[in-house]
Amino acid sequence: MRDDDAPRPDADGIDRRGFLECMTWAGTGLLWSVAGGLPQAALMSSAAAATPAAKPFTFLQISDSHVGFSKPANPDALGTLKEAVARIKALPEKPAFVIHTGDISHLSRDEEFDDAEKLIQEAGLPVFYVPGEHDLLDEEPGKSYLRRFGGKARGAGWYSFDFGGVHYVGLVNVVNLQAGGLGNLGAEQLEWLAKDVAGLSSETPIVVFAHIPLWTVYPEWGWGTSDGAQALSMLRRFGSVTVLNGHIHQVMQKVEGNVAFHTARSTAFPQPAPGTAPSAGPMKVPAGELRKYLGIATVDFVRGDAPLAIVDRPLAG
């Protein structure tokens, strides 16, 4: 059973039935739109041309803004977030809302959260957050995050909402991490998820978002979620499942049956591709090339059974 008190974008014509029309990366944000519940990708321009009669809507994903980060990989993380917000505002089609997949702040400091929140609000869109591990570094872990962004979320900050006939689930996989392990959802959250989707028709498109990838990207660097497969098994009956994550600061994608996995770029700094460096962490790139690594990818969903495709579109270059 879904929780009708769960947070959702208020106003803006939200209903509980509709169609995901297409999805598109723009700026440092991933812009999604949906049609017919089955994903197909194309460039933003051709997507517009191919849009079916049903009124499309889009939403946007930004991730890993790390406000407060000021190391050589990007001395001005707030500045690049500002550029991302400017891109959002300049989009020809206004997204319905924004999803932020965590690491809003770098060290969970009040001024970092304040700066990030103020800037992201300038986009003038409802924003749905999930925390990254950098957002839970306060004295009482997560207190500050939940006070600011928790809304009506449960537990450590998980919730679901509906928009345009799509069911969105925000999960938290960055608390109570165990030595030697990966990201973790935990029994309480998995139990909630099972109940949350139990009443939904299998035709309902599902979008799941969380900070750390729910699929195993690279366990050597902790890029995965130990109980992510349990969550995904609860979604197996749905015809269209899209999993959006951040954390790894680069675009990665995989399609497995009806599940499309995608990770978003950071608005702050790049990280190396798995195994190409001694470790994860902020990657310094030649001067003037940062925005190539913070770039753009375009993804579209349209009606039909064409495969999902995501086109990277760097911010610059």
């Binding site: 190391k71 050589p72 990989a73 770098h106 060290l107 969970s108 591990e133 950098h134 570094l137 991490l177 165990q178 030595a179 030697g180 392990g181 990966l182 366990p219 050597e220 660097w221 902790g222 001694p278 470790s279 994860a280 962490g281 902020p282």
Partner: protein, 124 residues
């Protein structure tokens, strides 16, 4: 509260602040050594998401200091929670004095694939 009571309360508050300041100044003015510098000391470097050395062997009474050399914060959390650092930003340090023998496994709570161990043996 009378005016003079209020004034004396203000004075005593200021007094406490001054006392606290004096403690801080004393700490700053003193030699830059950890409090337990009298005992043996050892260091662990955090670099490239790795504790180095991953296994450290020390005698009881040793103060171990971890220093983060990465451009990303890490923590040092003993698995049994007997000690736990705050998030360590670049170049931040955390020290813990091991008062009893045993094996102390620890990890970074932000990046739990980062693990290390301190083996504490009885002093000779």
């Amino acid at each position: 509260m009378t005016l003079s009571e209020a004034a004396s309360a203000a004075v005593s508050r200021r007094g406490r602040h001054l006392a606290a300041l004096a403690v801080v100044l004393a700490a700053v003015a003193g030699p830059v050594l950890p409090a337990a510098a009298a005992g043996p000391a050892a260091t662990v470097t955090i670099a490239n998401f790795t504790f180095e050395p991953a296994v450290l062997d020390v005698a009881v009474g040793t103060t171990v200091t971890w220093t983060n050399g990465d451009d990303i914060p890490h923590t040092v959390v003993e698995t049994g929670k007997t000690f736990k650092s705050k998030p360590l930003d670049t170049d931040d340090s955390f020290s813990h004095t091991f008062e009893s023998a045993g094996e102390f496994a620890y990890f970074c709570s932000l990046h739990p694939h980062m693990t290390g161990k301190v083996v504490v043996h009885a002093a000779d």
